[in-house]
Symmetry: C2
Subunit: 118 residues, 2 copies
C-alpha cells in the first residue's frame, strides 16, 4: 500500500452499529487494506448520545462542532482541533452539543473486527 | 489509562529529529503511557520540506494550512480536515505550502521507539 489522501467525501457514512441515534461513521482505510489501523470520519447530528464500550484504542479528532465524552469517572469536552483519546475497554457516552460535530478517527486495531468478535 | 482530552497547547513542540527545517512535533500520548499508539501535533513553517522514511504507520490530519506528500510514485496534497495516510516503509517528502500547516498525528506503533532502533 502506498500513501493515500483521504477526505470526508471518500467515505460512505452509515449509522453506527447497534445505535438508533443520528450518529454516522465511515471507514476510508480498514481491514480490507492490509494495514494495522482503521481511519475514518464521523458525523454527529445535534444533541445525540452514543453509548458504547470501546473495543479498540480509539482516537477522535474533532474537526467541527463540539463533543463531550463521559465515563463514570469524568467528562471531557473537545472542540475544533482537539482530540479525545479513548483507550480500549473504556465505557463511554459520546454526546454532541447543539452544533453537532464532524470527527476524524483512527483505531488500533480495526474496530469493525473487534466488534464482530462480541 | 482513562479517556483523555488533548489540545495542541498540551504538547511541547520540538524540532523533528535529524531535521534542520522549521518543522516541529510534540507527543501528547506515547510509549510513556502504556498504550499501543502515539498521538501528537505537528507545526510546519511556510515552505518547509521534511524528508523521511516512515518507520511506523503514520496518519496525519491537517488542521490548518496545506501539505503535499510526495513519494517516487506520486504527490498528494491535503488541506484542512483532510488526512494523509503514510504506511510503514514509505519514503516521503512532506512539503508545507506558503501558509504553513498544523497537523494532528497518530502512529502505530510508537514512532520514537521505531526511530531509536535505527
Amino acid at each position: 500500500m502506498t500513501i493515500r489522501k483521504i477526505a470526508i467525501t471518500d467515505v460512505a457514512l452509515e449509522r453506527s452499529p447497534g445505535q438508533d441515534g443520528d450518529v454516522f461513521a465511515g471507514n476510508a482505510v480498514d481491514q480490507r487494506h492490509g494495514g494495522p489501523i482503521t481511519i475514518g470520519y464521523g458525523r454527529y447530528a445535534p444533541n445525540q448520545d452514543l453509548v458504547e464500550t470501546i473495543a479498540v484504542d480509539d482516537v477522535m479528532v474533532v474537526l467541527q462542532g463540539r463533543l463531550s465524552v463521559s465515563t463514570e469517572a469524568e467528562t471531557v469536552t473537545a472542540g475544533p482541533s482537539e482530540i479525545v483519546y479513548m483507550p480500549k475497554g473504556e465505557s463511554v457516552t459520546i454526546h454532541s452539543h447543539e452544533e453537532g460535530a464532524i470527527t476524524a478517527f483512527v483505531t488500533y486495531p480495526h474496530w469493525q473486527e473487534a466488534e464482530a468478535e462480541h
